[in-house]
Amino acid sequence: MTAPDAAQDGGLYATRQKIYPREIGGRFQRLRVIAVFVLLGIYYVLPWIPWGGRQAVLFDLPARKFHIFALTLWPQDFYFLTWLLVIAALSLFFFTALAGRLFCGYACPQTVWTETFLWMERLAEGSRSQQMKLARAPWTAEKFLRKAAKQLMWITFALWTGFTFVGYFTPITELAGKIASFSTGPWETFWVLFYGGATYVNAGFMREQVCKYMCPYARFQSAMFDRDTLIITYDERRGEPRGARKKGTDHKAKGLGDCVDCTMCVQVCPTGIDIREGLQYECIACAACIDACDEVMDKVGYPRGLIRYDTQSGLEGKRKRVLRPRTMVYATLLAVLVAGFAVTLSGRSVVGIDVIRDRNALYRERPDGRIENVYNVKILNKDRNAHEFRITASGLPGVEVDYTGPTVWVAPGAVQSVPVRVRVPRGSVQGGTDLVLSIAATDRPDLTASGKARFIAPTD
C-alpha cells in the first residue's frame, strides 16, 4: 500500500461513525414491515412444519437427502439445485431490470435482519435523538440497563436465528431437545454459534455497510439498469433550486423549487447518502426518503412525489415502457427455464442403479463350463413407496443372472446392495465386452433403470 493511495481513499485511520437513521412511517415502510414479517415468518416457522412423519423442509446432510415437502432430492439430483440457482439469479436480473433494487429494499436477508435489530434497538434505547443522546451520556445505571437490554434481545434473537438455521439441516425438534439438555453435538453447537454470531455482527453492527463494501450485487446491478428501470429518484426539475422558506410564501415567485431543504431524506437514509445528488450505488432502495419527503410535502401543502419511484424516462416526461427488449429477453429465458425445470422434475426417474465390478477376480470358470463375473449392484429407490425389483442382463449371448431371491425388496428412499453373478457359456464372449444390467419394479413396470459394466472372459 503506497502513501498517496491511502490518502486518496480517506486513509487507514478514518474512523467509522455510526449512522443513526431517523425512524419514519409511511406506505413504503409499511410494505417493508410486511415483507420482514412474511420472510422472517417463513424462515422461523418452516422447519417446524411436519410432513408425513418427518420435517417438511429438511436438508438432511447426514443422510445426504434433501426433503422439500413431497419432494426428496438425492445427490444424483444435484443439477436441480444448480438449475434452481440459475433461475434465482435470472429472476434477480429480471426484477432488477424492471424495478431496480427491489430485492435490496424488501427481501435481502441483510436488510430484513437489520430492520429487526433496529426495532430492538429502538425498543431499548428509544428514538434516534434519544439514542444519540444516550451514546454521548456518561455511563449511568440507566444507560447500562438500556444497553444490556438491547444486547440481551440481540443475542437471544441471533442465537434463535442460528438454532433455526441448523434446524434446516438436522431435525429441529430433536435439536431443541438436545439444546434443552445441553447435549448438542460439537458441530451442531458450532454452527448455531457461527450463524448466530454472523447474524449478530451483520445485523447489529455492520448493517448497510455490508451493502456498501461487501455486496457484489450492489456493484453490478447497474448493468441491468436502463432508462426505463424503476428507481428511487429525486425530481430535480421540480425540486431545484432548493431552499428554506416561510410557510405560505409563494416560493415560485421567489424562484425556489419545491424542495424545502429540510434534509429529512438524508436523515432517514440508512446508508447515509443524499438522494438529491442522483442515483448512487449505495442506495438500497428502502424508500425511506420517499416516505419522509411525502410527509414533509403533506405538511407544507405541496403535492407528494418530489422523491418517488420513477424511471429516468419518466423523469424526463417521456413515455414509460415496461415491455422492452431487455425485460422481454429476461422474461422469456426465465419462463423457458422454469418450464423446463418443472417438466424435468416431474418426469425424473425415481429409481436408479449403480453397477460396480467385483474387484477380487476378473472371472471365474464354473464346473459346468460357464464363465462367471460378479458385480455389486446398488438399487436406488427414491420413491415414497417400497418396491420389489427384478434384475435382468442383456448385451451378451446366452447370458444369465443369479442373485438372492427372484426379486429384491427396497424400502422407500433406500439403497439396497445386491451381489449379482452373471454367467455366459464359455466361448460366447472373448475378452472384455459391455454388459447392461437392468432393474424393473414388479408392481410398476414403468420404474426401470439400467447400468453398464464390463464383462470379462478368457480369450481362447
Binding site: 500500500m1 503506497t2 498517496p4 493511495d5 491511502a6 481513499d9 480517506g10 486513509g11 487507514l12 485511520y13 478514518a14 474512523t15 467509522r16 461513525q17 455510526k18 449512522i19 443513526y20 446432510l61 447426514p62 445426504r64 445427490p75 444435484f78 439445485l81 453435538g185 458441530w187 458450532f190 454452527w191 455497510q209 455490508v210 456498501k212 463494501y213 461487501m214 457484489p216 434534509t263 438524508v266 436523515q267 437514509c269 446508508t271 447515509g272 447518502i273 443524499d274 449505495e282
Partner: protein, 108 residues
C-alpha cells in the same frame, strides 16, 4: 450543510483495514459455500480415504462437510488476499491528459 454532522452526509466509511478484511473474507465465503455444495454433491465424505489403510479421512459426514467448507474458505480467502495485494500494490494508472484520444489526427 451546517445542520448535519458527518454521520448524515455519506462520508461515513469503514477504515481501510476493515474494508480489506471484509472484501477478502466475504467473497471467499460465498465461493467456498458453492464449492462445498458442488464437491459434496459428488463426494461422500465418509467414503474419502485410503483404500489400504482404513479408517476413512472423516469420522462423520458432518465433520467432513464442515472441514471441507473451511478448507475451501481458506483456499479461496488466500486467492482473494493475493488479488487484493496485487491490486493495491500496482502502480496507479497514469493521470488522464487533455490530449485528444486520437492523437494521429491532431498531429501536424
Amino acid at each position: 450543510m451546517p445542520l448535519l454532522g458527518d454521520e448524515y452526509t455519506g462520508t461515513v466509511r469503514w477504515p481501510r483495514l476493515r474494508q480489506d478484511v471484509a472484501i477478502v473474507t466475504w467473497p471467499s465465503f460465498l465461493v467456498a459455500s458453492v464449492a462445498t455444495m458442488i464437491c459434496f454433491a459428488f463426494i461422500d465424505p465418509v467414503l474419502v480415504g485410503n483404500d489400504d489403510y482404513p479408517p476413512p479421512a472423516f469420522a462423520t459426514r458432518m465433520s467432513g462437510y464442515a472441514i471441507g467448507f473451511f478448507f475451501f474458505w481458506l483456499i479461496s480467502a488466500l486467492s482473494s488476499l493475493l488479488t487484493l495485494y496485487l491490486a493495491r500494490t500496482a502502480h496507479p494508472e497514469p493521470p488522464e491528459t487533455d490530449k485528444p484520444d486520437d492523437w494521429t489526427r491532431s498531429a501536424p
